[in-house]
Symmetry: D2
Amino acid sequence: MKPFKLASWDRKGSYTHIKIDSGAEPLLIGEGYCTIIAGPCAVESEEGYLQIARFLQEAGAHALRGGLFKPRTSPYSFKGLGREGLEIMLEARRITGLPLVTEIMDVRDLELLGDNIDILQVGSRNMQNYSLLEELGKLHKPILLKRGLSATIEEWLLAAEYVLDGGNPHVILCERGIRTFESYLRNTVDIGAVALLKELSHLPVIVDPSHATGKWKMVTPVARAAIAAGADGLMVEVHPDPDRALSDGKQSLTPENFLKMYEQVSRISRLVKNL
Amino acid sequence: MKPFKLASWDRKGSYTHIKIDSGAEPLLIGEGYCTIIAGPCAVESEEGYLQIARFLQEAGAHALRGGLFKPRTSPYSFKGLGREGLEIMLEARRITGLPLVTEIMDVRDLELLGDNIDILQVGSRNMQNYSLLEELGKLHKPILLKRGLSATIEEWLLAAEYVLDGGNPHVILCERGIRTFESYLRNTVDIGAVALLKELSHLPVIVDPSHATGKWKMVTPVARAAIAAGADGLMVEVHPDPDRALSDGKQSLTPENFLKMYEQVSRISRLVKNL
Amino acid sequence: MKPFKLASWDRKGSYTHIKIDSGAEPLLIGEGYCTIIAGPCAVESEEGYLQIARFLQEAGAHALRGGLFKPRTSPYSFKGLGREGLEIMLEARRITGLPLVTEIMDVRDLELLGDNIDILQVGSRNMQNYSLLEELGKLHKPILLKRGLSATIEEWLLAAEYVLDGGNPHVILCERGIRTFESYLRNTVDIGAVALLKELSHLPVIVDPSHATGKWKMVTPVARAAIAAGADGLMVEVHPDPDRALSDGKQSLTPENFLKMYEQVSRISRLVKNL
Amino acid sequence: MKPFKLASWDRKGSYTHIKIDSGAEPLLIGEGYCTIIAGPCAVESEEGYLQIARFLQEAGAHALRGGLFKPRTSPYSFKGLGREGLEIMLEARRITGLPLVTEIMDVRDLELLGDNIDILQVGSRNMQNYSLLEELGKLHKPILLKRGLSATIEEWLLAAEYVLDGGNPHVILCERGIRTFESYLRNTVDIGAVALLKELSHLPVIVDPSHATGKWKMVTPVARAAIAAGADGLMVEVHPDPDRALSDGKQSLTPENFLKMYEQVSRISRLVKNL
């Protein structure tokens, strides 16, 4: 008997699909789909965000990401625009019809973000912030749960279990690289975990190759690998001018490179579905 | 220039000593002292807690630990007595005159715990819960900051920096083992980090050999090593009947073994101070 | 300037292709090819090995693997058939026309294996056995260099550098999973390293999903991911009756599952080449 | 039943003491002793080595270390003086009466080193070089077996088992730091492993704080911790002029600092023995 009950495949016996109705068209996430969530690491300015949002909508992305409250290792780094940025994201949704994804770090932001954002992301550093997870379990809203930097697969599924046990069945697992001794790339994408989770659990599994690798040149090959291993989607960073990004520019795709990645990943996804 | 400024030795040039006045006698923590914080993993019952508290006071412990709100990997595990347990801890302080240490997990508990507890502990899983750290930076109360399971020394000091930068200079660093590939013991005590932190930073550094090793037989030798390496104190789990503990029994010392450890550690501490 | 010179892409400016002429048809390994090396973990019996060899030849495998001298963690485990097994492998080559791959552990086996085997494998535990690497540098024979369990990418390329610097340019890099804290699967396949190596170096890069995951169910999805990330081939374990294998049965594909994997991987390889 | 039989405490029921008779006085290594092996990383010149050897003998060191055949990550680094250096070490033994320790990397050096050196060291990179271990099992000579960079305690004891099973009971275990994500110090000394090995096994356990930390300032506190945790000795690097060392200068103690370390460690050793 596995310690995670509600998250286990065996107990449910069918894959979970998460439906998001807030955008122009309903969005389904889960087995059989290839959902691309894209956007800059942080919302930095209205002009820049709306520009990239329009581009991503035309390019075929399914949801927009953007950081409002950024967890930063140092207290001296840019921490996001907060409420001001939220208005920008809402405007982007009005224009593009795409649902929004942003990170929630604090239970006191539950109302603000819960009322406005379509998918609430729990970041790696908060994967075991149980007070937060318990509150998210009370919502009827998709939770994108990133794997902790050194979380085992079991700990990750048990963190999901907190949300599920609270009554919210809408959890998406996001592999974003684990911490190992290797330092050439920022983290080590655990591609085996992606394949394994599709066996162990019914929850959708996506991969974030941008944070995982920390180098934009690696984003596309790792994105291809993720989809080939069975992932149900990707979350990637795209920035109109990566060199000028306030955070994580080195790992952001340019719009041009996003198009290439999107095309390659779509072709692999079609192939894998027909295997 | 190091990314942590307020936490760095170079900037301050002298060790920080933290004074706690709430107990029967003032307690000083920092270089030159050997502070022993002890108690059961969780407060489980009034009778048991008061019994062990009286024992620890007579045995020479300097502060009492006890979990009220327990972060548990699984939502199905015992999560602590919460407010009810707090009353028990307060009673223990009245009886023994020893200051209290407990973990805070949620910003909404700040008032409850901040008003009553002498040292607020931030657990490993919350080391990068920046919302919590920022709130703790506004208090005038010692914060015992445990190292995250896979936090680098730099990330750990930057987490301390959040509290210091908020205006609270009373931070105690607690090494509690890091996650590695080795699984014979629960975690790997980073003894080099203890020695290094006494060079890099002015903050007091203590070690928790109980959580770090997960096996009571290893607690005493690792405690000796910690003090020999230069640590300013220890936090150890003691339980009147470890086999019946609701959590972490395997790593808890019996009262008898606590006495042995205390004696050995005290002798090493005296020796190291006179080197 | 990178510490590895001969292994670096920048210095050579074109991919290395390794040609093996010993089989019925010349075999090319490197960028643009998808080489499948397959066979049981160890050569166990003549009948079994010839049976699987014939099957693999018909199925389209490009080379046969088989352990003769097995490095085993415990001195009490089956260590391979040695010279006796070599005769079996040679017979398999006569029958199938496929080149042979086996591990060399000891410089004293250089003559025996060097004269008979087509690709000499250096195992993870010997990746930094410099005496062995220096001897292999004197041969004119392909060396399949497995990554050490906790070798960084740089250390791995420097191990290749030992062979290259000795005068042997025929090195194939084989990612086989690294050691991390995660224990659900045996090791963690470093898929980012695969993509990165195709940037950093001109040497062929293959992946061993069998040893890396330790679970046969994970072999196919991880194999797909490897090829999607840009790997130039795979080394997989196939056993006619995995439950009865003397070593590593749990990670071996049945012939039937090998066919499925082969088909899927071939389709992904064709797609990736045309991206 | 543990997988290591001959190495386990339970099977033997008493600690192993290794006696070395080649020096001026017999040297005993094991429980109850505190053996200090010291010397430069590599033998670099006759004058320098004899000078430091004389110093170490007067300072009370029990054995001399010195690298003759150095395993180097890069083929372009200084690899040791080899046979020429051996003559220098033999001269140092004649002068000081201290036994010699050096690393063996190649089975073809067995005769050369086996006939001349008192303790043969197996380095981290060769901990699972089973061909070498099997040959060392046939000798009647102490083997100092360093832990592999990412070897579990069980794998380490199984490597010792290879030597013991071959018929050589004289194995000394040497903890030298494991590879983790932390990079401020070179490796992470596993102090818990030291304490645990004294429970699990009867073999002597020593610690190498020089390679483990990579920083000379950390050598003394970590050495103190090792002895406090129960280690039976230390292997430390000492160099007359660390800034000019051909390898590992940053981690070498000056003669002056060696004296300080020796004094501190001796006092802790006496205290621990009388606990």
